[in-house]
């Protein structure tokens, strides 16, 4: 006997009125099909827009193996290393807002792309990496230091690409700034945090769906050519644009940008095995949340919003709760900090011998 209509027998989650989050928003879990689980020994790499920082922070605190490949020297105190963006993401690439930025990061790390713009100067005459302009507090002290640090960074990126198990990437923006000479994409417009904006060299670029799909596919292929078993989780940042370069309201640009990214993410995930779309955007922006997951500025996602997103992530993808596995590095840090304590004690002894005054 045939169905009365095609919707008969479909699961509750396909029907709006059956959603329990209408009355209990905290129960909203729009995940219906995942194609893999994340195990205790899976190294999870994160990258993307600023929302991805929340993802990284939560992963590192929740038992996933948040994979970090770029460390400060162990003699540097943890809180100072954090200020210099160590451990914010897997490596010190900073925010990667667009798919083209991701593609170009891979190309640069492997030596396939050397942008014309290599070093920017700040107003204070320090040096800034155009592709991660806010990574070094105050800037680098010299061009040589910047170039040295860049090589360390690229090695860390390569290590992450070649040994990670899971890559979580958050698409953030479609609007970007491009160097018309070689197509290099910058995370911030030249002149904002270094460099000098000139219309002859730089132009506004608003990526479209097909370009984003192509860039993401290129990145996935690039990564899997070097590490075939990597699984991907693609998300879209729920954080609205801070500013738009288009002459229209920033929220209109936001809806366009997020719509494009959402469609691109859908296409990319449909085209690749073991590549899931994770609906963090939906969890934060859905009417069930009634706007409560945005802070007072109506833009920043609140801690409770991040917790909701990541608890769903943990519930759906987590197979375990376990310690992170950066044990070797922790030992280096412990040895270095012990050395500092010993030296402080030693200096105190040396200084102790120097107590004689005329008082």
């Amino acid at each position: 006997m045939s169905k009365k209509h095609p919707y008969v027998g479909m699961p509750d989650y396909q029907f709006w009125k059956n959603e329990q989050a209408i009355t209990q928003p905290e129960l909203f879990d729009p995940i219906t099909n995942i194609s893999f689980k994340i195990g205790k020994n899976d190294s999870v790499v994160t990258a993307g827009s600023c929302f991805a920082q929340h993802v990284a922070k939560y992963l590192s605190n929740s038992g996933f193996t948040f994979y970090v490949t770029e460390f400060a020297h162990p003699i540097i105190p943890t809180e100072i290393a954090a200020k210099f963006n160590y451990g914010v993401f897997t490596a010190r690439y900073g925010n990667i807002y667009t798919a083209r930025q991701l593609k170009q990061l891979l190309d640069r790390a492997y030596g396939f792309f050397e942008p014309v713009e290599s070093v920017w100067r700040t107003k204070e005459n320090y040096f800034v990496d155009p592709f991660r302009p806010q990574i070094q507090v105050g800037g680098f002290v010299s061009e040589a230091e910047l170039l040295m640090d860049r090589q360390v960074h690229y090695a860390a990126v390569r290590k992450a690409i070649e040994s990670m198990s899971v890559f979580v990437f958050t698409l953030g923006l479609t609007e970007s700034w491009i160097d018309v000479r070689d197509g290099a994409i910058f995370p911030l417009a030249p002149g904002v945090a270094g460099g000098v904006f000139t219309e002859a060299h730089f132009a506004f670029k608003n990526f479209e769906v097909d370009e984003i799909v192509e860039d993401m596919q290129s990145s996935i292929d690039f990564i899997r050519a070097r590490n075939p078993n990597v699984k991907f989780v693609i998300t879209v940042s729920p954080v609205p644009l801070n500013a738009t370069a288009i002459d229209r309201h920033v929220f209109v640009s936001t809806t366009y940008s997020k719509a494009v990214l959402r469609v691109a993410a859908e296409k990319v995930c449909n085209n690749n095995d073991l590549c899931d779309y994770f609906p963090s955007f939906e969890i934060i922006t859905s009417p069930y949340a009634r706007g409560r997951y945005y802070g007072p500025d109506c833009r920043e996602v609140t801690e409770s919003g991040v917790n909701h997103v990541m608890s769903v992530f943990l519930k759906q993808y987590g197979e375990f709760i376990g310690p992170d596995r950066n044990d070797a590095t922790n030992k280096d840090v412990e040895a270095a900090q012990q050395h500092i304590e010993n030296m402080e004690s030693l200096m105190s002894v040396l200084c102790d011998e120097e107590q004689i005054t005329n008082q």
Binding site: I80, F84, H339, Q359
Partner: protein
């Protein structure tokens, strides 16, 4: 803290930690009559000599026209006198040269780490400015020694820690310069003076001549202290 001391009316107060010793040791009858030297450790804690904090009571005990301070001054040695378990080096604005086979740390990280280590000394300097309304000048820490590999000049405790080795002179000098830059910037922000090292005390590469080195690897001796006193008297015009 209440100290059982009479108020001093000497016009010059030199106050700080262990680096004041070289100055105290260089005082003679004439300079002793116009200069007080206070080492925080023994002044406020004569029994244990562990105090590092500038107590406000100091303002009740001295009424100087000129203060020269030397708080801290060994923080760069904590990080770089001996080799760290993972050897490091760093570049500066003036030098991109680094020793081979080391992790290169960025200057920003070194600067931030040393600044953190110097917080206590900087706090004391800031506090001094709030306690006294007179001319205040910071005395620059003595420069590093070029060579401290001779066990003869090292205290026994120090020799016991030598298994990692002494850091190369170039690294110790860069750490010292970074330390001095931080102190100089603090002085500028507090609008107080910065007394640079006496002329003629270093070789062409900026290392302290051995005749000015004390018996330990971080402090200068009384001969160096004499030259600092001479600088101070010129500034104070006493």
């Amino acid at each position: 803290m209440k100290l059982d001391k009479n108020i001093s009316h000497r016009p010059i107060l030199i106050i700080g930690n262990s680096h004041t010793t070289a100055i105290a040791a260089a005082l003679n009858d004439q300079t002793r009559s116009i200069i007080d030297v206070v080492n925080l450790a023994s002044f406020f804690d004569p029994m244990n000599r562990r105090n590092k904090i500038l107590h406000p009571d100091i303002a009740d005990l001295f009424n100087p026209k000129y203060i020269f301070c030397s708080f801290g001054g060994s923080e760069h040695s904590v990080f770089g006198l001996l080799e760290a378990p993972t050897k490091f080096d760093f570049m500066t604005e003036n030098s991109s040269q680094t020793e081979p086979d080391r992790d290169i740390v960025t200057y920003g990280l070194v600067h931030a780490t040393l600044s953190q280590a110097m917080r206590g000394a900087m706090f004391n300097t800031q506090k001094l400015c709030t306690l006294f309304n007179c001319s205040i000048t910071h005395i620059c820490t003595p420069p590093p020694f070029r060579n401290i590999s001779e066990n003869a000049i090292l205290p026994r405790r120090f020799q016991e820690s030598l298994d990692l080795g002494v850091s190369p002179a170039s690294i110790r000098k860069k750490l010292y310069e970074t330390h001095s830059n931080i102190a100089r910037d603090l002085c500028a922000s507090l609008n107080i003076g910065f007394l640079d090292i006496p002329l003629g005390t270093t070789d062409g590469d900026g290392f302290l001549y051995s005749k000015f080195c004390s018996k330990d690897p971080t402090h200068a001796n009384s001969l160096y202290g004499e030259l600092v006193i001479k600088q101070i008297l010129e500034i104070a015009n006493v």
